[in-house]
Every structure is written in structure tokens, then in C-alpha cells.
Symmetry: C2
Subunit: 365 residues, 2 copies
DNA sequence: CTGTTAGCGCTTTCAT
DNA sequence: ATGAAAGCGCTAACAG
């Protein structure tokens, strides 16, 4: 027979106390206290009956749930799944249940989940990799109407987040700040700059960049940080390529293919206009870029060196080993959780660490 | 001001109807119906007030939640995160919220989550990669007490799952069946067998196997399927190695390293006792194995060919491209969701597809 | 067809 | 220190 879960009142009856006392004994009330022997008795019967509270009922009574919402673009992307692992660990430590939303890059779905979190009275919500930030309207930026629509959605999301916060929920974003909301900031610009400096130090002088999709702040910051450091060093990128799509392996492949074909057609090719190294703004794209180089009959790093960003663990064994900027993603997830829960001072910033590997060998000459 | 979410009674009042009518208008009661104009009016006010129901309250009243529990070993493992993507997609389609549990390979935590799901009255629960199955007590099997403990935990888990089911929850497991519970079975043995046949067809005759941790059914089935087909073809594996740890990249690395050192010391080495190809029972391990071969100063596939299992998307670009058995993990996740929800007939089985790539080139001679 | 009224399981005043 | 009772927001009998 479907044995219904044991309720608190059963425990109370069995222990010979009132419902209220049982409740207080089990989750120690702030104001009231319970006589030692009674508490003992209640706890013991609870254990014996294998009682455990119904989260929904507690949520109703307390006006807040025990749920922590995690919103990612795509849980199958190792960037996000690594963050998710950190969040899951930290959440469990706090006794919270994590509810996962994989938006598949849809801003509408992102918004819907934030609103769901609010009405569901989630304890907190963590947004990873939000597209919230807007492109700065550079030369390759999309048409105005698209921009306006994106701006509208970004604003709606920010409002929803703020509303959630005002309703008492905790919020944390991962990546970059959003209108004053708490953030575990990843120093994308700084990391990319450090990478540029390291590559320059290794003897590279001619650079290409696969920038990732316009409108993704993470991508833009990495690009900018890289380019700015480059010019500070007296170099300029030879070529940059905007990747459509979503920061993916295939995006990296296509971008590199375009970059390569541009080089081929280039009359200035003999003038040394070929990048010695190409920086793809994340590892997953870098891997696609390497594949593209190979499919074009060239070699990495022989003909072109390639560097990425993130240091995705699963990609640790690609060949040649990828030069990248390590970001402790799992820790970022944990930090975001603590931040969202108010266990931590706000707005921490995580710095990446440059890791030079075989994909960008020291360049002698 | 923390604007509290709009409640149904506010909507009812505003629309000038009773609470019950409002409820019926919004989620069409099975038995009762509502006059068209009233329904309209309610719906309109609900929209205007931006009402949305409180899931906890609905859960209490209805006696069941809108939550779908997903339990995985490690969400940062691409095998599981890909499954999770499928589950998330299917769940969203059904209007369910997925609550994620990453157990970090702890059977205790697995059990705890199943029990949580029950008392929380989750609609359904999906277990991926459970360690539920027991080793068959082969020569390398662990000591009896460990076995007994594992058996106890497996039994407890199965009981919890059954209890959950009897309480009205849906259940699906992924990988292999568990005591008659619904399962999206992955034909691990068949896939591994097909791989063995394909490698044999490509000219390989001397095989090694990195079997993965004892006690993991998925690993065991793949190993067995491979070895059985091998002997049917008149071959035997030269060497097999048990990987401690958890089916991971490092596990693969270590296992391959051990296998290699065994070969070195082997007097029979000149007698052709070196495997031509090593089958690692999943891609992640295979990647580690390749790294180990290289670190030993040998090459893949020049000195040793390597094959994996799963066809993890993120690993698509390792070099050399990995021969593997493709498992449509995302679809598996979707199927499991439908199965757990009773939208699908039970116990589907998914067959993998052998994909021969550069890591196991045709062997002439 | 609509409205009234019990709860769902738990927390929390408010009395005692 | 304990208990009785009033909800939390919603659904589902049960009356009209």
C-alpha cells in the first residue's frame, strides 16, 4: 500500500505532545524553547518513525522554499556543468535543493525561469553566463532592431531579478556584473590581457582573435582585454573574426575557417600578414579552431598556434595541449552559491591563471 | 517594497468571482466547467495582475509536486551533463521543474536524494549511472565485507525507489535495469561487442581492455560484451586492467600506465604479447589512456591503438580522433523522462553505433 | 454552473 | 514551557 509519508502530527501524537511542541523540538524555534526531556522524546519518535518534513508544507508556512535556482545556457556545455557541480556541492552543504534550468540560449526562457523562481519563492537564484550585457555597437554589431529587442529582454531580465531580490530572494550572477546585482566576476579582460602578454613574451607578434558572438559580454571582455594589452605592447591583431552561434566548438571551427580563407585570398599574405597565433575566446571554440586548421591541411602549432580560455578539464588532453587561462569554475559555482545566500561579502572577483602548453610553443626568432 | 506575488484570491476578487471559480477557470477542473464569459474574465484579470500559481501551495493541495528529480554521479562529467540536457529539455516540455542531485559517487547521498524525492512528493525521479548493480565476484572483486556493504546499499536504494513508486511517483533508471524498475537500457554489451567485431574486421588481433571500476554495471557490461565477442571470434584479450576510482580520465591514465609497465617487464614481450589495440570502456578513460601512452614515449595509434565508448561530443576533437560507440545520450535523457512520467511504454533499449576513427586505423598485415 | 468550506503539513502567534 | 488555533495559497468535495 502506498504508505503515505509520516507527518509531524503523527510524530506529535506518538510522542504525546502537541503539534507545536513537536515542531519546536525538531527545528528549534527562535523564541520558544522546549524542555529537554520532551525534545528528546520527540526527536526519538521522529527518528523511529522515519519522519522527515514536507518541503512544500514548510515552504507554505514559512513563506520561503528550500530551493536554489540555477540558470545556465546549456548544461551539456562543460563550462556550465562544471559550475553546476560547484553549485550542487555548496547547495547540498546548505541543505538546499537545486533546481536546474537549461535555457538553450533563449533569453525568453531565462526570463521565464527567473519569474518562476520568484513566484515559487526560491531562496536564491544563480545566473550563469547570462546574455544580459549588450554589445557596444561596434562595426560588426547587429542591426538596430535586433539590438533594441535584446536590450528590451536584458532590461526585462534585470527587472525580474530585481523584483526577485526585493521579494527577499538572493541573487548572484556569474561572469560579469549586472546593474549592481551581486556577482562572482570573472576577470575575463585581465586574464585575456595576461595571456596576450604571455604569448608576446613567448615571441609571438602577429595575432588573430576569434571573438565569439557579439552581445556576449564574456566573449567581448576577453576580446577587448586581449586586444588592449596587445596594443599596449605595440602590437595589433591582424585579424579578428566574429563567431556567430553560441560560443561553441562549431562556432570556433567556422570562424577559423573564415579566417583561413581570408588569409588565402589575401594579396598581402607574403607580406607576413598571417597570424602566428590565434586566440579563441574559449577552449571549446579553440578546439574547433584547431580542427579547422587541420582540415585546411595546416598544422597546430606548426603553421598556426592556438590558445583558448577556461581550462576545461575534459579538454585537458586535446593535442596539442591547449594554452589557456585557467578559471576555477567549480569554485566559482560554490562562491556564487554562498554569495546568493548572503554567506559571503558581495562581488568577489576571480582571476584566471595563464597556462602555457604545447599549442603555443616558445617562438625562437 | 517587496511586492508579494499575486494570489488566486486576489484574482478572484478582482474578477468578481469566487476562489473556486477562479481556480477552475485557470486550470480547467476535470469535473466542473466554467461559463465562457466568466472564464474569460478570470483569465484576463489573471493576465493583467501577472498572476502565477504558487507551486508549493499547489503541491500541498494536490498532493503532488511539479518536480522531477534527476540523480547523477557527477554533473561535471560530460556523460551525465549530456543526459541532463535531455532531461531538462523533456521536463520543460512537460512543465516540470528539474531538481538536480550530483551525488559525487556516494551511494548514501543517492539514497538520501531518493528519499527526499519521496517525501517531497516529486512527480518522478530519474537515476543515471547508479551503482546499484553488484560485481559478480570475479577474481579481482573486492573483499566480502565491502561487497556486503555495497549490497546493503543497493538493496536500500532499490527499496527506496520502490517505495517512491508505490507512493505514486514515476521512476526511470538509465543504463541497466534494476529489479524490474523502468529503465532506458543502454545496450552496453552489444555495443562493445560490435566494437570488438569492427576492430577485428579492421585487422586487429591482440586486444587489451581497461575495464573500469568493478561494481559499476555499465563498465562490467561493456567489458563482458567486448570479451565475449572476442572469444567468439577466436581471440582473447591479452591483458585487462581494473581501473580504480570512478571511470575517469585519471582512472584511464593510471590503468594504461599499469598495463604499459606490465608489458615492459614482460619477458614474453617479444613473443608478440603487446596489445595492438586497447579498449577503454568509456571515452573519458580512453582520453586518459592516450595521454598515458604518450607520456610513456609511445604513440597512438602508431604503437597502440585506442578505442572508447559513448562518443562524448566535447571529446570529438581529441587527436587522434577517437574510435568509439556512439550513444545518443541526450535522447536517452529525454526518453528516460518520458518513461518516468509514464508517457512511454517501458524499458526501451538504446543501441550504440560503432564509429571508427583515426585512433584505430585499418591494420594492413 | 457557481460558491462555501474543508483541509494539505507545517509554523507561529496568542493564550494559558 | 506548552498547547490551541490561525493561517500560508490552492484544490476538491460538497452544497446550492
Amino acid at each position: 500500500m502506498p504508505d503515505a509519508p509520516v507527518t509531524l502530527s503523527q510524530v506529535a501524537r506518538e510522542a504525546g505532545v502537541s503539534l507545536a511542541t513537536a515542531s519546536r523540538a525538531i527545528n528549534g524555534s527562535a523564541t520558544r524553547s522546549v524542555r529537554e526531556d520532551l525534545r528528546e522524546r520527540v526527536l526519538e519518535t521522529a527518528r523511529r518513525l522515519d519522519y522527515s518534513p514536507d518541503p512544500s508544507a514548510q515552504a507554505m508556512a514559512r513563506g520561503r522554499t528550500t530551493a536554489l535556482g540555477l540558470v545556465v545556457h546549456d548544461i551539456s556545455d562543460p563550462y556550465f556543468s562544471t559550475i553546476a557541480a560547484g553549485v550542487a556541492r555548496a547547495a547540498e552543504r546548505e541543505g538546499l535543493i537545486v533546481t536546474l534550468a537549461s535555457t538553450e540560449h533563449s533569453p525568453d526562457r531565462e526570463l521565464a525561469f527567473v519569474e518562476l523562481a520568484r513566484r515559487q519563492r526560491s531562496r536564491a537564484i544563480i545566473l550563469a553566463g547570462s546574455r544580459i550585457a549588450l554589445p557596444d555597437g561596434g562595426p560588426e554589431s547587429p542591426p538596430a532592431e535586433i539590438l533594441a529587442e535584446a536590450a528590451g529582454k536584458a532590461r526585462a531580465l534585470e527587472m525580474a531579478l530585481t523584483a526577485f531580490q526585493e521579494a527577499g530572494g538572493g541573487v548572484a550572477t556569474i561572469g560579469q556584473g549586472v546593474g549592481g546585482l551581486p556577482v562572482v566576476e570573472i576577470d575575463n579582460a585581465g586574464g585575456a590581457g595576461a595571456l596576450a602578454r604571455a604569448l608576446h613574451g613567448a615571441g609571438y607578434r602577429r595575432f588573430g582573435v576569434l571573438t565569439g558572438p557579439p552581445g556576449l559580454r564574456t566573449a567581448a571582455d576577453r576580446t577587448d582585454g586581449f586586444l588592449e594589452t596587445l596594443s599596449a605592447l605595440g602590437c595589433a591583431a591582424l585579424d579578428r573574426d566574429v563567431v556567430d552561434g553560441n560560443f561553441t566548438r562549431d562556432g570556433g571551427y567556422e570562424a577559423m575557417t573564415r579566417l583561413l580563407s581570408r588569409m588565402r585570398g589575401d594579396a598581402a599574405r607574403s607580406a607576413g600578414n598571417i597570424p602566428e597565433v590565434v586566440f579563441a575566446v574559449n577552449d571549446v571554440m579553440a578546439v574547433g579552431a584547431i580542427a579547422a586548421v587541420r582540415d585546411a591541411g595546416l598544422s597546430v602549432p606548426g603553421d598556426i598556434a592556438v590558445a583558448g580560455f577556461d581550462d576545461i578539464h575534459t579538454l585537458r588532453d586535446v593535442t596539442p595541449a591547449l594554452t589557456t587561462v585557467r578559471v576555477p569554475l567549480e569554485e566559482v559555482g560554490e562562491a556564487a552559491t554562498r554569495l546568493a545566500l548572503g554567506l559571503e561579502a558581495k562581488n568577489m572577483v576571480v582571476h584566471g591563471e595563464v597556462v602555457l602548453r604545447d599549442s603555443t610553443p616558445e617562438r625562437s626568432g
